[in-house]
């Protein structure tokens, strides 16, 4: 029987090739995700070793919650004086993109790309991990250096002067004193790494007299433990810790690996979706090929083969296909990983040179997944083939038996219900870990997909007939036959379409959720925001409080306030807290006050609570609550008011002075402003332009502009996700091409007859292509239907202030469906050409 397995494989090479390709792509991406993350993990590990090699100890601030308070600068000298310490250096690091250099053409380096980071310069390669390549280190005010790759690619020249956008405003004509190298190879991941002197860093980032950490190198043959003990004597007992090199290294690695894991897992997720799609294609291929071999099976049975032997022959074929596909997939995966690295590099994220690591785990997983998927998909067809009666050998037109449609319906609807129930459960009360959420929802989605696939043959015939109506009307006989062919084998149409359904349902879910979030934002801005301007920083650095002050100083505004966020402990629980000018709040946001009144600007010992929070804490207006800050300070604040509208702000709000007093967050995350009565937007525009010029790093938007910006950012996120889902769709299209090729083969005689009685090649091609388009359309519509279900589920589960009611982007989804149908048309190009080229005589006498 083994010989038969190989004969069959040989005879159906072309047909198995497409199946193999589907598995190869899926396995390839799984392998790529592992090879990529293993390689990156290894090279980042080396990088971590290198960065931390020169630092024996580090002293740094800690806090249980919130931002730790920086260290007092004087500590550096005290620590340096300790015996056994060769060098102790204080560092200041700016927030991401806090400092942005302006290129000679007047533009900044793309702010949505890799981060721009600024550090205080340390004149020691071991402690600082940076070495000078050209010029000198920055030393004075308005001097900076930059890593050599960023300088080269952005056209910065040592010795020239550039403007620097900083939190304290634009520093004009700063000199680029030199270029630097990070580690041994300047593996910056595309980040722009800059240095200024320590004094300058303290000035620019508003942290005079403090440092973020102190790096320490010990003398050789020093007892580290003794030194640590000595340091402990010097540093404050609260909010400061000492860590050793091993800890630093481990933290650094974990930090890098987090990023690697995200990339790896995202890739893996999409690879698994693709593999899942392949199941449908493999199932289809085996069903059709075996269907064409029913007589052969019958003959074997008549000659004495038992059902077990037949089943084994078929599963043997599946095993061989799976093995070959997995092996090719393994090789392809290594190639894909290299391609992805090249892609990242082209996008500007210069990844470190990674070794190609194909670990045993990767190989085992690739083989298991590839072979497993193929075997599982071939199981049902193998069973059907094994149950062929010996008599089938004698009958003309015998077909492969299938499990009854009743059973399919029952199993399908059960799976569908389970999927919906599990999905609903997963969405309503999601498990705590992200992994479990993904697993639960992934299981639910898979159950729904399988359920729909099993049930859909019931509707495949009427639906494809309905869809085919215009084709039959408009395309003549070729169109009519296309419609008939698309509906003549509902099970085949259903499974082929189902493969496409998966990709499209995920894409439309993403589109629907995105649209719902967008429209909710529109409602929120409409109902809860009265501010004329919303100001945010494009980076994470936040907005310097000077901006709000500058705006207020113009006198053109009735209300201006920044919003600062920090973590505090309130009544024993760690919670977010907002600091803002409470007196101007009424003109900017609707808080929907439930009790009390907003305090005047000069009252600083108050707090405004959301009603839910007040209820939880059992406090009301006039009660006093205790707030503890990261610095260790505490404040006793009187509840001035409670509010109910939690669309924009949902945390306790305190006057800015409270944060200033406690050393909490000093930067605004965003700023809201309303024009004074009688000042029109047009009249204020020059002023706005002026402020914009002073602080180029922020965006000053009207509510409408803000909405546009937000929608654009959602759209670009959607594009990335959908680009990755395109893989699943491509595999489904391969499936359509494959099914059509098999169908064409199966209908050779029919095609021969059609050609004999006068169907032209063009008409044959058109017939095959439109059949494919109808199958694709069917799959696409199923996908959109499932996408609506998923979208509805996700939107209902999302918090109300994030996505309100279901909002379907009809135009985009219609476009998506049309593109899918057109893609089906294109996918069938090859099978259509084959069908057109059939030799009429051979086809007529084909058996």
């Amino acid at each position: 029987m083994l010989r038969l397995t190989f004969r069959n494989l040989g005879a159906n090479k072309a047909r198995f090739a497409m199946t193999t390709f589907a598995v190869v792509l899926g396995v390839g991406f799984v392998v790529a995700s592992f090879v990529l993350s293993d390689g990156l993990r290894s090279s980042f590990g080396d990088l971590s070793d290198e960065i931390t090699a020169g630092t024996d100890l580090q002293v740094r601030p800690v806090s249980e919650f919130g931002e730790p308070v920086p260290l007092d600068e004087t500590l550096v000298d005290e620590i340096a004086a300790i015996d056994g310490i060769r060098l102790a250096v204080g560092f200041v690091e700016g927030d991401e993109s806090a400092m942005q250099p302006v290129k000679s053409d007047g533009t900044t380096i793309n702010s949505v790309g890799p981060p721009q980071l600024t550090f205080s310069w340390v004149d020691d390669e071991g402690l600082g991990a940076f070495a000078l390549i050209e010029g000198s280190a920055p030393d004075e005010t308005a001097e900076f250096s930059m890593d050599v790759d960023a300088a080269t690619s952005n056209g910065f020249v040592v010795g020239s002067t550039y403007d620097l956008i900083t939190p304290i405003g634009v520093v004009e004509d700063a000199t680029l004193t030199g270029t630097t190298r990070f580690g041994s190879a300047n593996d910056t991941l595309g980040a722009v790494l800059m240095h200024v002197s320590l004094d300058e860093a303290q000035r620019l980032f508003g942290v005079p007299g403090t440092v973020d950490e102190i790096a320490i190198r010990l003398d050789t043959d020093t007892d580290a433990a003794a030194v640590v003990a000595e340091i402990s004597q010097v540093i404050p007992t609260y909010g400061v810790e000492i860590v050793d090199q091993a800890t630093l290294n481990a933290e650094q690695k974990a930090d890098f690996n987090q990023g690697v894991d995200i990339v790896g897992n995202v890739l893996l997720g999409f690879a698994i979706v693709s593999l899942f799609v392949s199941i449908f294609i493999i199932y289809n291929t085996f069903s059709i090929i075996l269907g064409q071999r029913v007589r052969e099976m019958g003959l074997l049975r008549a000659l004495g083969a038992d059902t077990r032997q037949i089943r084994r022959t078929v599963l043997g074929e599946a095993l061989a296909v799976g093995l070959i596909a997995s092996l090719i997939g393994l090789l392809a995966g290594v190639g894909i990983a290299q391609g992805l690295i090249a892609l990242f590099d082209a996008l500007g994220a210069s990844l470190p040179d990674s070794p190609i690591i194909v670990s045993l785990r990767t190989i085992v997983l690739a083989l298991t997944l590839g072979i497993g998927v193929t075997l599982v998909s071939a199981l049902a067809p193998a069973r059907a083939a094994a149950s062929v009666a010996p008599m089938a050998a004698l009958r003309d037109g015998a077909t492969l038996g299938h499990q009854s449609s009743r059973r399919r319906l029952v199993v399908g609807s059960t799976l569908l219900s389970i999927g919906i129930a599990v999905g609903g459960f997963g969405l309503i009360s999601p498990p705590s870990s992200t992994l479990n959420v993904v697993l639960v929802l992934g299981f639910a989605a898979a159950a729904v997909f399988l359920g729909v696939t099993l049930v859909s043959p019931v509707i495949a015939e009427p639906v494809s007939r309905g869809l085919g109506w215009p084709v039959a009307k408009g395309m003549g006989t070729a169109g009519r036959l296309a419609r008939e062919n698309a509906s003549r084998n509902p099970r085949r149409t259903a499974t082929t379409g189902a493969a496409l359904m998966i990709g499209l349902s995920l894409v439309s879910t993403v589109l629907i959720v995105g649209e719902s979030v967008k429209s909710r934002l529109g409602e929120l801005l409409e109902s809860s925001v009265q501010a004329d301007y919303l100001i945010i920083d494009d980076s994470d650095a936040g907005v310097t409080p000077k901006l709000a002050a500058d705006l207020a100083d113009t006198g053109q505004f009735a209300a201006v306030t920044g919003f600062r966020y920090d973590e505090v402990r309130l009544a024993g629980f760690v919670t977010d807290m907002i600091a803002a000018d409470l007196s101007s709040m009424g003109l900017l946001l609707s808080l929907d006050l439930q009790s009390g009144t907003l305090p005047a600007a000069d009252v600083t010992d108050v707090i405004v609570l959301h009603t839910d929070k007040a209820e939880d804490m059992g406090v009301g207006v006039g009660d006093t609550v205790t707030v503890e800050f990261a610095s260790g300070d505490a404040a006793f604040l009187k509840v001035a008011a409670t509010y109910d509208d939690d669309t924009i702000l949902d945390s306790p709000i305190v006057p800015v002075q409270v944060f200033d007093d406690a050393g909490a967050a000093a930067v605004d995350q965003w700023v809201a402003a309303s024009l004074a009565d009688g000042v029109s937007a047009a009249a204020a525009q020059p002023l706005i332009d002026q402020i914009q010029q002073r602080y180029p790093q922020v965006s000053i938007d009207s509510a409408a502009e803000f909405q546009e910006r937000f929608e654009a950012s959602i759209d670009s996120a959607l594009t990335v996700v959908n680009a990755l889902l395109a893989l699943a769709i491509v595999i489904a299209l391969i499936g359509i091409a494959n099914t059509l090729a098999l169908s064409v083969h199966e209908r050779t005689r029919e095609l021969g007859l059609l050609r004999a009685v006068g169907m032209t090649r063009r008409q044959v091609r058109r017939m095959v292509r439109w059949e494919a388009a109808l199958v694709a359309l069917f799959g696409a519509l199923l996908g959109v239907a499932v996408g609506l279900l998923f979208g509805w589920g996700v939107v209902s589960a999302l918090p109300a202030d994030f996505a309100g009611s279901l909002n379907v982007p009809f135009l985009r989804i219609t476009l998506l469906v049309a593109v899918a149908a057109a893609a089906g048309l294109v996918a069938a190009w090859l099978p259509a050409r084959r069908a057109g080229r059939l030799n009429v005589l051979d086809a007529i006498s084909h058996t």
Partner: protein, 252 residues
């Protein structure tokens, strides 16, 4: 319209082969399926091509019908020299000028009987001549079966649909390759009667390949093929005459 090359002689010939030669393979394995066949098939006649298995009957028919090309020689449908036609024009010629009845698998399973009958005209985007169509359907006795699919028809009914299709477009000539080969003798006789009827009453031209002497007896004329050559010809054949001739030929 297919381009035409006229022979110069206006005759009442629907199809004609001149020195038709067809080789398969080459060298030792060369098979001469047709070896210089010259024959004419008159309009309004029912002709039978007879001969033992492997004598080249089907090959001759395929070449006459534009389904296959000759190695040497020429074939004409009416005045049209098929060797001058492109693939596309051959297809159009088959669609518009020729009717086909094959031994089996004559119908498109997804189309109803009526749709199968009008298929060539539908492919041409032409409306069938309703009066003619009704007559044809009536003649083959399928009026109450037109909306059935092939799978719902018996073998004999399927062949009748096939004959109706061949007739429906009122072609220059109809080629039938062993149209009764898969049928029992009674059903076969019915089909042959229809074909006879089509020639006598509807003025059709039919060329039928068969090795059944009884089938040949329905024709006006029988042409005998052996090893790719025409060896004999018989007008108004009867079953006995044909049988005797066949015995004779097989002894050669």
């Amino acid at each position: 319209m297919p381009s035409t090359t006229t022979t110069g002689i206006e005759t009442d010939v629907a199809a004609r082969a001149i020195g038709a030669t067809k080789f398969y393979g080459s060298g030792d394995t060369e098979v001469r399926a047709l070896d210089g066949v010259t024959a004419e098939f008159e309009r309004g006649h029912f002709s039978a091509i007879m001969g033992p298995s492997g004598s080249g009957k089907s090959t001759l028919m395929h070449c006459l019908a534009g389904l296959d090309t000759l190695t040497d020689g020429r074939v004409f449908i009416g005045d049209t020299d098929l060797s001058t036609l492109s693939e596309r024009n051959l297809t159009l010629l088959r669609r518009d000028k020729i009717g086909f009845v094959f031994q089996a698998f004559n119908l498109v399973p997804t189309l109803t009987a009526l749709e199968n009958i009008t298929l060539p005209m539908d492919l041409a985007g032409r409306d069938p001549d309703q009066e003619w169509l009704d007559r044809v359907i009536d003649a083959v006795g399928l009026a109450d079966r037109t909306s059935h699919r092939p799978s719902e028809l018996s073998g004999g009914q399927q062949q009748r649909v096939a004959v109706a299709r061949a007739l429906a477009s009122n072609p220059e000539i109809i080629f039938a390759d062993e149209p009764t080969g898969n049928l029992d003798s009674t059903t076969g006789a019915e089909i042959l009667d229809f074909m006879r009827d089509a020639v006598d009453n509807l003025g059709q031209t039919i060329v039928m390949v068969t090795h059944d002497p009884v089938a040949a007896s329905h024709a006006d004329r029988a042409v005998f093929l052996v090893d790719g050559k025409i060896v004999d010809e018989m007008m108004e054949p009867t079953a006995e005459m044909v049988l005797d001739e066949m015995k004779l030929l097989s002894r050669r």
